[in-house]
């Protein structure tokens, strides 16, 4: 009970609109074998597999992990499927970590994946159900009014979202796995892009991607062994998820209580009392540009109403003192079921010093964050270069 947990392997596919060259098992195996190579392990050494993805309707396959079993070498092993809205990639990693933490398994492979090219996600999310509020036009249509409310409350300049999108897409140029590599992007090109759901423009919204990420989690012994072999692990310092109902009297969808509670829980576990000072780099779930300032406030990196100032002051840029989404974030790659785990994995890559061109020098403590549903499901972890 209460084993330390280390991330010793991370593998990602190139994120892209259509991965027509591989099957579903082929896509997943690509990420899995890269993670195993990083961990210097084989599938045979894996004790259990924890898989997450967004709704099965996206590929039109009910519980597809059943038909991935042979491809994952999982015959005779435990395979566990998590499903918790957009936060699922984060939740999945947390469930995997808890199996190691509890001392039940020593080496757990966790996978987040989605092949969105199999369908049109926006409409797959917009089915009409009797007696239920309609989503109408996907997630953007749902979240736009809350962004407008944030703008009204905070008096943030209108171009805050433009700056976030420009920064994240420019960061993505340093990440070979990112879906969007927009070499010609400029402030003007973002600002002049089509308005989809006012105030969210085309260039301020996430793409629809195919892709997978896998991570190998192990206990203290495994983490120490990797470190001794010159392969730095990322140590898990805290994990938390929090949920609240889609509709509840007094619920604030601009800065949800569940997000605040989730951050407080994970900081408490990690011994973080001043996140702005103690956290070196953040991978947060920003599918629409304006969610950067909104989450900066929700997660305690900025005072309420002041998150946009960090964006405008360049604090969240790669050369700022709180870099956010150096990988390009969800705005540059969004295989939905994987997106949360990509945030967790990118946070781990930073503290391992293995993020390549988008590495922040000397990153010791990183936060990974994911959210989902009607901004009501939150999953976070804190990872560090040092053992907790």
């Amino acid at each position: 009970m209460s084993e330390r947990v280390a991330v010793v392997g991370i593998g990602q596919t190139k994120y892209t609109a259509v991965r027509g060259d591989v099957s579903l098992p082929g896509l997943v195996r690509e990420a899995v074998f890269r993670a195993l190579e990083d961990a210097q392990m084989t599938l045979a050494e894996i004790d259990a597999i924890v898989i997450g993805k967004a709704p099965d309707f996206f590929e039109g396959i009910m519980v597809p992990e059943h038909s991935l079993v042979e491809a994952l070498g999982a015959v005779g092993k435990p395979v566990f499927r998590v499903h918790t809205a957009g936060s699922v990639g984060g939740s999945t990693a947390i469930v995997a970590a808890s199996m190691v933490e509890a001392g039940i398994h020593e080496r757990v492979l966790t996978i987040g994946w989605q092949m969105q090219s199999c369908s049109e996600a926006m409409w797959a999310l917009s089915v009409t159900m009797p007696f239920q509020q309609q989503l109408v036009a996907g997630a953007g249509g749902y979240f736009a009014p809350y962004i407008r409310q944030y703008m009204a409350r905070s008096k943030a300049p209108d171009d805050t979202g433009v700056l976030v999108a420009l920064k994240d897409r420019q960061n993505a140029l340093k990440n070979p796995y990112a879906h969007l590599h927009e070499h010609d992007i400029t402030y003007e090109s973002v600002k002049e892009s089509l308005m989809l759901w006012d105030p969210i423009r085309y260039s301020e919204t996430c793409p629809s991607s195919d892709g997978a990420i896998a991570m190998v989690l192990t206990n203290e012994r495994g983490g120490d062994a990797a470190a001794a072999d010159g392969r730095p692990p990322a140590w898990v310092h805290g994990t938390a998820f929090r949920s609240e109902p889609a509709m509840a009297a007094g619920r604030d969808q601009v800065s949800p209580q569940a997000g605040k509670d989730c951050a407080a829980a994970v900081y408490r576990q990690a011994g973080i009392t001043n996140p702005r000072e103690q956290v070196d780099v953040v991978e947060m779930y920003v599918p629409f540009s304006w969610y950067e300032p909104m989450w900066l406030e929700n997660l305690g990196f900025a005072e309420e109403g002041k998150g946009w100032q960090l964006t405008h002051d360049g604090v969240t840029a790669m050369d700022g003192d709180l870099p956010v989404n150096c990988s390009g974030g969800v705005l540059s790659s969004n295989p939905i079921g994987a997106s949360g785990m990509i945030r967790f994995g990118e946070a781990a890559l930073q503290v391992r010093g293995m993020a390549g061109e988008h590495q922040i020098d000397g990153a010791r403590t990183a936060v990974g964050h994911a959210y989902g549903g009607a901004a009501q499901f939150f999953a976070m972890w804190v990872v560090g270069a040092d053992k907790p």
């Binding site: 009910m62 059943h66 038909s67 889609a246």
Partner: protein, 352 residues
């Protein structure tokens, strides 16, 4: 490992079609009943976990709405699996093992009636080679039954006897959907649904749900007179592709049974998630259960089969018998996928 017990359970009255009752309305009273029985305040659970299926609900992220059935305001620590609720219980058990929780609420539900369930379940098959042929869940089970009969694991007569015994036993189960059965000889006069399966060999289509409360150590003893301790729990999967599996046995159940410690003591009762009559002898063999073990005294899935809940119900049924003092040790089994692909085994014991 920490000592963790099931301290309370509740089930819906399982029915063929819950009609205009939606999933939230179906599961909310069940959650309330289990919560009240447990003595844990509705806002006091350290963790909540549920299991359900988007494909049954016909809606992506269908569990989001069902969160309205629990007290999730102020926010709670919560998770969801796209598996039977038995695996939601497993996740809650893991959470308690980490020391981050001492109590947990687990629930699952399924409303299969709005769709054509056997055809919906065909979507679980491999999308490249098997699903395009649209074999239903009954078709796949019939292949397994045919192989089991040829291998001498069972016979059509033995299968009819399982159906008769299960549904007759269900007469004493207030939650069951089917509570009586014609004699086996009469059942065998029926036409085949998919040879060698007749209607009586198949679990009914059911709407329903279940809720279970877990507590650790002294908290369990304080809240429950006779906690049903989870002495072992494990789950394993077999391969998927039908041509690569020996469908007449269940190797993954055997591994899970060994890891859970089924053989470490006498088994008085076993609740098996066998949705087709021929699967009972396959599971008995994999679990190493002798002829003296009472199987499915509740009637089992053949008497009520709410998808995504029927596995967790097996754990609840064994726990109920331990709570009442009727038995000291029992085994619960849950399954997922076609033809017993993925299996969970738990050993429950009373104190002493």
């Amino acid at each position: 490992m920490r000592d963790v017990a099931i301290i309370a359970t509740a089930q819906s009255r399982h029915v063929r079609a819950a009609a205009a009752t939606n999933e939230v309305e179906l599961i909310q009273p069940v959650i309330q009943e289990a919560t009240e029985r447990s003595g844990v305040g509705r806002h006091d659970f350290d963790f909540t976990c549920s299991g359900s299926s988007d494909y049954l609900a016909g809606q992506p992220f269908s569990f989001v709405m069902t969160l309205d059935a629990v007290a999730a305001w102020p926010p709670i620590s919560e998770s969801h699996v796209e598996m039977d609720g038995a695996w939601a219980l497993y996740e809650a058990w893991v959470k308690i093992q980490t020391g981050q929780a001492d109590t947990a609420l687990v629930y699952s539900y399924g409303k299969s009636s709005p769709g054509d369930l056997p055809r919906v379940l065909s979507r679980m098959l491999d999308p490249y080679y098997e699903a395009p042929m649209w074999p239903t869940s009954v078709d796949v089970a019939a292949l397994q039954a045919d192989m089991a009969i040829r291998a001498g694991v069972t016979s059509e007569k033995a299968m009819a006897e399982v159906a008769h015994r299960s549904r007759t036993a269900a007469a004493s189960n207030p939650h069951a959907q089917l509570t009586s059965s014609p004699e086996p000889a009469e059942l065998l006069e029926d036409d085949y649904l998919a040879q060698p399966l007749r209607r009586h060999d198949c679990a009914p289509i059911t709407d329903g749900g279940v809720a279970v409360v877990l507590a650790a150590g002294d908290r369990a003893r304080e809240l429950c007179d006779r906690p049903a301790w989870i002495r072992g729990i494990d789950h394993r999967t077999d391969g998927h592709h039908l041509n690569l599996r020996d469908l007449t046995s269940s190797p993954s159940t055997a591994i899970a049974a060994e890891k859970a410690g089924v053989a470490a003591g006498p088994v008085q009762v076993a609740e098996l998630h066998a949705c087709f009559t021929h699967q009972e002898p396959i599971l008995r063999a994999a679990l190493g259960l002798g002829e003296d073990v009472t199987v499915n005294p509740s009637g089992g899935p053949l008497a009520a089969n709410p998808m995504m809940a029927a596995g967790l119900i097996r754990l609840a049924e064994v726990a109920n018998r331990i709570h009442s003092g009727e038995v000291d040790r029992g085994v619960a089994h849950a399954t997922g996928g076609h033809a017993l692909q993925h299996n969970l085994v738990a050993v429950l014991e009373g104190e002493g």
